[in-house]
Symmetry: C2
């Protein structure tokens, strides 16, 4: 059941209403669906900026500085910070969040940390739903900050209109793995902590990788910005580049195209989630437990059991 008072409060950017709605998204799939359908007509006006990169690259500091910049432009800012969590304890590492308390107190800023629980996944789905809530609330800018180490973090970053990838000189070899995914989603790179040794080398390496990418006049070429975010150096340039990217998307008619692609990915994820929910609600743990002995004792493979479960599910529908 939709609580209309809650929704009305959301539209006034009431922080407690926003918090309640996002908590609801984290805990109740059925209600999430109802609320997102209800507020959808208000969604679509916020500009979404994704900020991702390896742990320790300084994403929070950049988020912080960008927020302060947008505040000077009289914008309202909603922040979703996705923290990686232990799949076992459910405890997010909120250390970075603490540094953000100065902007969090501002009435034109809303900050929310989200963390995943269990192995059911769905974090990207929830973070995007939460962005819809902030969008409907009327925030001008939404910053989606994630630690870019897993698929779901990449998914979130791609749900943005402009995606920033933050790297540090020493990322070098050790984050090669991450960069492999990150290189492709970046609309701009920030080479943070660029006062550190190895900075020029890292810059050149990154530049080289970017230059070998295929492109034509309808392809946006990501640029690299050196930054020392803790000293607030370079943030104006970065904000300007985000604007330039926004203008590019609009001029090339790529903006709606990008959002359409994102909607498709999102719908797919929602469908799969709903179906999974139904499946395990119908099937139940018990029927799974009762057949487990058969696998362990060797007579049936997990694939046999899986087929049995699917048949039963289909018959119930």
């Amino acid at each position: 059941m939709i609580n209309n008072t809650l929704v009305e409060k959301l539209y006034t950017k009431d922080k407690r209403a926003i918090a309640r709605l996002i908590s609801l998204i984290e805990s109740d799939n059925t209600l999430t669906s109802e609320y997102i359908k209800n507020i959808h007509f208000k969604v679509g006006n916020a500009y979404r900026i994704g900020i991702t990169g390896p742990p320790g690259a300084g994403k929070s500091t950049i988020t912080n500085q960008l927020t302060k910049y947008y505040l000077t432009q009289n914008k309202t800012i909603g922040i979703i910070a996705v923290d990686p969590t232990s799949p076992f304890t459910g405890g997010a590492l909120l250390g970075d969040r603490v540094r953000m308390t100065d902007i969090g107190m501002n009435e034109n800023v809303y900050i929310r940390s989200m963390a995943t629980r269990g192995s059911l996944g769905g974090l990207s789905k929830k973070a995007i739903d939460a962005s819809d809530v902030l969008d409907a609330a009327g925030f001008d800018v939404i910053l989606l900050e994630t630690v870019g180490v897993g698929q779901s973090e990449l998914d979130i970053a791609q749900a943005a209109d402009t995606t920033i990838v933050v790297l540090v000189p020493e990322s070098g070899d050790s984050v090669q793995a991450m960069k492999a995914g990150l290189m492709e989603i970046a609309d701009l790179f920030i080479l943070n902590k660029s006062d550190r040794p190895g900075s020029q080398q890292a810059y050149t390496a990154l530049q080289t990788i970017l230059m070998i990418k295929d492109h034509d006049e309808n392809t946006w070429l990501p640029r690299i910005f050196k930054s020392v975010a803790s000293e607030n150096k370079g943030i104006d340039d970065i904000a300007e580049e985000i604007d330039r990217h926004k203008t590019f998307l609009n001029e090339k008619n790529l903006f709606l195209f990008k959002r359409e692609k994102q909607a498709k990915v999102r719908i797919k994820e929602i469908v799969e989630h709903k179906l999974k929910d139904e499946l395990w609600r119908e099937t139940g743990e018990n029927s799974l437990n009762s057949t487990l002995d058969k696998v362990i004792l060797g007579s049936f493979s997990p694939y046999h059991i899986a087929e049995e479960i699917i048949e039963k599910f289909k018959n119930k529908l």
Copy 2:
């Protein structure tokens, strides 16, 4: 259709047959299901060791040394190395693999790299299926090496009987995020490159975290091993600890219990995968594309469209 000659060759540890079957697992879900069901009666005898940790911690070197150790014990060893991939280019970073060529030539060792493609996930499912192939082939030990940065890598590590988490002193803050997940799955820790500065501090920090975990006599307490794997220091101790863990699992009757839990996770994943496959085969991209305009133009939310798709799917079943 099952190729019986291929299966017969698998049972003789024919490397080309193994390679073909694993390629098949990577590319064809229906055939995977048929083959895993077919070979299941041969599966269950190998001891599975998971090796995970952040990029650059030295996992490949440890895998390499452990393999050499088991060779001196006249064991046969199968290795599945899961490489993180760009979800866009599909290119795995196989640099580490190159270092392994010396053991790869040994007739008692089989090495296979696996990488994920696209955002469909399922890498953990495929890596575990591939382990079944090696198990059925009769390898005594299976080493599952993954880069422990995402959920699917954690899933793979947990599919092992003994899970080793490799860390380095400088992992420190920057891998806090990863450690959060890694701490809970480790049966033993290797603090690699322990000749480096900060090693004692890292050791103490790790020890402290381990000590605050709840435990009783039926709980295995993970120990921390300092190692300089590139010099082959400490590998005997590590192999001995793996044995001690195996004995512990057997004595406490936890071995079957652990495998049962793993089978449950696996069956769930197979069921969800099969259902997803069917869903998108039935629904098709076209019906999704045709409804997309409605979302973009604002009249329907992604949740509306998702429900429509699910209804259609159910009606078709």
